[in-house]
Symmetry: C2
Subunit: 209 residues, 2 copies
């Protein structure tokens, strides 16, 4: 498999979301130009990104949406379902556990863990109850969980990551504001980065006026 | 002000988070090489990004952390405090409202709005109660809110965006899975993009072994 740069992967995930909506609306084809407009990315960039799939876009007709969705699913690795555990049942952990889009996108949350005795046993959704973190490793092994979300305070994140890696977790989404030292892939989510990027646009727009 | 590309802005926000931690740990200077290691970005890229500030890095000593923080704050526009309203008091809206890092990063949530009569009046934090969306415009004007978070269902997002723009909001963070048609800057947050990027790394790592 050809190595695809990370910014391209991120854009593919964004195109994916847009293409899904178009499919739901009953559309069959889309031009790179229209897709580019919808996601606010240059159309030359969109064409370059889609060239990773070989050239099945057709001049004057564009790309077949279903085919494109299926190719992106394969490249991203979301053609199969992924079993997810969440560590930390605070605001963010609970919001992710309840987030309906996760399941729709083939990410199935199967366990939520915390150290706090007041949270353990709490019903999060119809199928999810907060478990004691002591049972983390055995749960991961028995249920073949593959992805973990770290939504703990920063101080706890590194030791949790080590436990996850040892138990066989293959990738981590980290909401804690630290950089983890581990040998499996990690994606860091810092919501404040979106706010900072936004206010920069706001400020520079004002400067431009 | 020189126009800075968006990926650079995003990286500056990531450096910022890292530099803040170093400052808390009592560090005074940092080399571009060490900063690059901490954030998993090439050091040539870090040096290029920091060159937007002019060259106040000193050979053999590196960058002064406090000075760099203050410069990044100015570039990003977070040297001042921003007043934020949240539309939609569901899981995500509530998680953002309760998110302590927001205030630390100069984003002050001053109002939360919903249409759902069962949610209106609900206490979210010590200072925040869910308000009726009917009072949105007058609240924004009287409290000079500048940034809005759209955490509504997709169907409601466009009309909410139009109301926000008319009321004087200057930028939007959109969690709803749609592309908004409006004239103020918007940052889109799709949590599933992080999961998709992660599983791609997981899958391609396995391929490489």
């Amino acid at each position: 498999m050809r190595k695809i740069p990370k910014p391209t992967i991120r854009r593919l995930a964004i195109y994916y979301r847009c293409l899904e909506r178009l499919e739901q609306q009953g559309e069959e084809n889309i031009s790179s130009k229209l897709l580019a407009q919808m996601v606010h990315i240059k159309d030359s960039q969109v064409r370059k990104d889609l060239s990773y799939f070989g050239s099945f876009g057709r001049r004057g007709i564009g790309y077949n949406i279903q085919k494109l969705l299926s190719e992106i699913r394969k490249i991203l690795g979301i053609h199969k379902s992924w079993r997810v555990v969440i560590i930390g049942a605070g605001n963010i952990g609970q919001a992710i556990a309840r987030f309906k889009h996760m399941e729709k996108h083939n990410f199935q949350v199967i366990g939520v863990f915390d150290t706090d005795k007041r949270k353990i046993g709490k019903q999060i959704t119809n199928n999810l109850v907060v478990s004691d973190i002591n049972s983390l490793e055995s749960f991961i092994v028995h249920n073949q969980a593959e992805i973990a979300v770290i939504a703990t305070p920063a101080e706890a994140a590194q030791s949790v990551a080590e436990r996850l890696e040892k138990a066989g977790i293959r990738g981590i989404i980290c909401f804690a504001p630290i950089t983890l030292d581990c040998n499996i892939p990690v994606e860091y989510v810092d919501i404040t980065v979106f706010f900072k990027t936004l206010v920069h646009s706001v400020v520079s727009q004002t400067h431009n006026v």
